[in-house]
């Protein structure tokens, strides 16, 4: 076996081993989540940290994405004289895929990196051991609460992203066609049913689980001082984004199988 084969084999082994460890971490989180005490106070605090504090980023991004999508959609629709379908096309694009995926990636960058760095910092400064010494289950208190908070925050942030995107689309349209807000939103939601919104938005609960689990795992297993904290933070973003994009393919397929007519 030459060096490149050896390094590929080593990388594959590491990847499989890490996947196994993260899966075991996730299963433990699911089991511990239902154990007493439920840590509701800490969950609320983490929802505030992950959700409320991500609002400016999500709203700004949503607005910008809405404007850009609207401009692109108009360029296409104009060729067929179908300008009236622009709001509906934008709503479908935002709600079905762009909103959930973009929110997932943005939260993975902001919150995932934060969790990785925060827990990594607590690990190397022995604060996690300090929690254990104070008779607190650090895994439940730190990791599980953050995972649940991400699962709660993601669908809410996705809804905000979708709405901001439509507002952005309206602003871009109104500059050209003077359409009113009422008519724009009426046209946007004309072809969208409740299930069309619920299914893609609920899939972000899974995104939240992935972001919370991967970044908590990497923070929790940090070694090597400040360099290790930086590594945990970076890897949290990279790995959770990668897993999220791949799992998204699977979830889209599942949604289309479960709701062939309804989910866009």
């Amino acid at each position: 076996m030459d060096n490149s084969e050896k390094s590929t084999a080593g990388l594959t082994r590491t990847l499989l081993s890490e996947t196994g460890l993260i899966t075991s971490f996730a299963l433990r989180a699911i089991r511990v989540a239902f154990q007493s005490p439920l840590e509701l106070r800490e969950i609320v605090h983490q929802v505030y940290m992950a959700g409320w504090r991500s609002l400016p980023l999500v709203m700004t991004s949503g607005l910008a994405i809405g404007v850009v999508l609207s401009i692109h959609t108009r360029a296409t629709m104009e060729r067929f004289g179908a300008e009236a379908l622009i709001p509906a096309a934008l709503a479908i694009a935002m709600i079905s895929e762009t909103g959930p995926l973009m929110t997932g990636l943005l939260v993975s960058g902001r919150v995932g990196a934060g969790i990785g760095a925060e827990l990594g910092g607590m690990k190397v400064t022995e604060q996690i051991d300090a929690l254990e010494s104070l008779a607190v289950d650090s895994f439940h208190y730190l990791a599980v609460t953050r995972i649940i908070a991400c699962m709660i925050a993601l669908p809410i942030l996705t809804t905000v992203m979708n709405f901001s995107g439509l507002i952005g689309g309206f602003l871009a349209e109104t500059a050209i066609s003077n359409v009113s807000l009422g008519i724009y939103f009426q046209q946007a939601f004309a072809g969208i049913g409740f299930i069309d919104y619920v299914a893609p938005t609920l899939k972000t609960v899974v995104f939240g689980f992935i972001i919370g689990t991967v970044s908590s795992y990497l923070g929790y297993t940090t070694t090597g001082g400040s360099e290790g904290i930086g590594r945990a933070s970076t890897h949290s973003v990279v790995f959770s984004s990668m897993v999220l994009i791949v799992i998204n393919v699977l979830l889209v397929r599942i949604i289309l199988v479960l709701f062939p007519a309804g989910a866009l």
Partner: protein, 253 residues
């Protein structure tokens, strides 16, 4: 073997990390109410001993008793009750960065007692007064000096009034005056509450001041244990080197 009458008992404890053995068949007892100092060069398993006592690490072999209860077979839920009877002062204090001084000390009280907020505030003030920091209630840990952080760490470790206090390198990174202040706090604690104290240190003069008994670890084994006077009489070369290290440094200066 019975462990009655002992706050802590180590029976033939062995612990390795990768291929490095840091403790090899280590046995010792700590009677209730005594201050017991574990000494040794860096990397000889002193801090590992404390983490084994708290159940943060599991021994590869051997048995560990805390207040007559065998702990190495316990899971994390069972260890919660044992840990409530113990306090741990970490080498670098390990205060929670995101909480103020008062919140750090109130944390275990909120988690494990049914005290009202006013009772918690009163208790926090008392613990801080014990360590001479009653005016630093609202400061954040990063705004404190190393010695102050250590004292807040001590106040937090004592918040639940534990029967056993574990202290990891109390003089690490501190000047001699602050070291003496911390030593004095530990001696006062023993006098006022008969708390069993296990101190890991490489500071021989500090160990002489506060320790009823001293133990020296070397290359994963215990080379000596007894009072400071008994260790001074030892003919073992490692013990002699260790116990005279302080005076040699003073002479060199």
């Amino acid at each position: 073997m019975s462990s009655a009458g002992q706050a802590i008992r180590f029976e033939s404890v062995t612990k390795s990390f990768a291929d490095r053995r840091v403790l090899d068949g280590v046995s010792f007892d700590v009677p209730s109410g005594e201050t017991f100092c574990i000494m040794g060069r860096s990397g000889t398993g002193k801090s590992v001993t404390l983490k084994l006592l708290l159940g943060l690490l599991k021994p590869d072999e051997g048995r560990i008793f805390v207040n007559d209860v065998e702990i190495q077979t316990m899971d994390s839920a069972q260890l919660v009750d044992v840990r409530k009877t113990m306090g741990f002062l970490f080498q670098y204090s390990a205060l929670f960065d995101s909480l103020s001084v008062a919140e750090n000390i109130a944390f275990p009280l909120r988690r494990h007692t049914r005290m009202s907020e006013s009772e918690i505030t009163q208790s926090v003030r008392e613990r801080l007064a014990d360590v001479g920091l009653e005016r630093e209630l609202d400061k954040m840990p990063l705004d404190l000096s190393g010695g102050m952080r250590k004292r807040v760490g001590l106040a937090r470790a004592l918040a639940l009034k534990p029967s056993i206090l574990l202290v990891d390198e109390p003089s690490s990174g501190l000047d001699p005056i602050t070291t003496r202040e911390i030593d004095k706090l530990l001696m006062n604690l023993k006098a006022s509450s008969r708390t069993t104290v296990v101190v890991v240190t490489h500071n021989v003069s500090s160990a002489r001041r506060i320790g009823d008994k001293l133990l020296i670890l070397h290359e994963a084994h215990i080379v000596a244990q007894g009072t400071a006077e008994e260790l001074d009489q030892s003919r073992d070369k490692v013990v002699q080197q260790f116990m005279s290290a302080e005076s040699e440094v003073k002479n060199a200066v």
